[in-house]
Symmetry: C2
Subunit: 200 residues, 2 copies
DNA sequence: TATTATCGTATAACAGTGTTATATTCCACT
DNA sequence: AGTGGAATATAACACTGTTATACGATAATA
């Protein structure tokens, strides 16, 4: 512990610039989406030189990776709910509702993790792992429901249906032609429940 | 007719450069998606100067607009099917199947029209109209089915469910983490049929 | 303690992007 | 033939991501 503390402190000193950069990136990202994320803008707001983004991260790829992971972790956390009730449909629906909240409240993150970004960006292994973790969580939740309800539909298939509906609604609501005054969350949740009850 | 022919010919002469640009843009777009679409690359392939893209189109925005409209027109055409059979579910399913084919065969167009592109692009009024036309077609088809089946679900709601499922599957299949060897079309069609039959 | 090495940082540059101001060519019409 | 106007080319501007070089401070070593 104490042996490591020195090197930890050294890491923390470096972290200072690291977190400064990451915070600046997050702010710009939330303000103006991925198009507002330029290396110079990030470094300017962080009060550092552009080179810091290449020493602390792997350039812009590293910044996008960090935000990508953050986004998928939010999706994971949204679905990582425990319900005392034994009826697992509630678990699934609550997970979807929280998923939808994340997508609405963090539109920039959501757009980033679902490919609506700079075409040059390719998620790293760590980022892909975060994505897989989130999907595995959804499959797990769905599997619980199917088992409790005594349904024989494959849980991967059911989970894909679920994700397609929820993500489909989110993606359409993000589209330029989407009516802004619709209650997309309610629409999506109704569709999910209808679909879940139709499984056999 | 003949009166217009002269101006038409003049238009055609202009069209030469216009179509040359558009063809070059389409080629590059199909080859490498939106990231391969640079003003200089387009003009180079067209054998013209960059300025032509600003005189014939409104810069890159105009190029993207043309491809956006092309994309939504393909979606519209996909759903614009006539079925002799009175059972309109076939109409809906066939429309979805053709929609899915368009999305699979023209991934670049599909990504463009659904926001997975350069964040700077904002579709023009003409482009937005093309999008609205496609959605209206889907609502129309869905409405036919609901009427024939004697269902009282709102046709906008049903159409949104339909679109969310189909687009959701397409979007997920385009995602970096999507398994490449899955039959996404079959998955989506099964989900659509299941969902349609669950409506009341 | 003095020196060396290393790491983080800044400056400046390179190659690319969309866009546009200026200049030039070319063609149609009077 | 000459003039007007449209299409084009050249070059530049402001921006992007990235990197080579140089500088400085801090840590480890002789």
């Amino acid at each position: 512990m104490l042996y490591l503390s020195t090197s930890c402190f050294k890491s923390d000193e470096n972290m200072d610039s690291r977190t400064k950069i990451l915070n600046s990136a997050s702010e710009l990202f939330l303000e103006g989406g991925v198009s507002a994320l330029s290396v110079r803008a990030i470094s300017k707001r962080a009060g550092l030189s552009t080179i810091g983004i290449y020493s602390h991260f792997q350039g812009k790829q590293g910044i996008l990776d960090a935000l990508y992971i953050e986004g998928f972790n939010m999706v994971y956390d949204a679905m990582n709910v425990e319900v005392s009730d034994k009826a697992s449909l509630k678990l699934v629906l609550l997970g979807c509702e929280r998923y939808l909240s994340v997508a609405v409240d963090n539109e920039a993150h959501y757009r980033l993790i679902f490919g609506e970004n700079d075409a040059a960006y390719e998620p790293s292994k760590e980022a892909r792992d975060a994505a897989d973790r989130a999907f595995a969580k959804l499959v797990h939740n769905t599997g619980d429901y199917l088992r409790d309800a005594g349904l024989k539909t494959d849980r991967f298939v059911a989970a894909m249906d679920l994700w397609a509906i929820v993500h489909g609604y989110v993606s359409i609501s993000h589209h330029a032609r989407a009516k802004q005054d619709w209650d997309w969350k309610a629409m999506a949740l109704r569709a999910v429940e209808l679909h879940m009850r139709a499984l056999d």
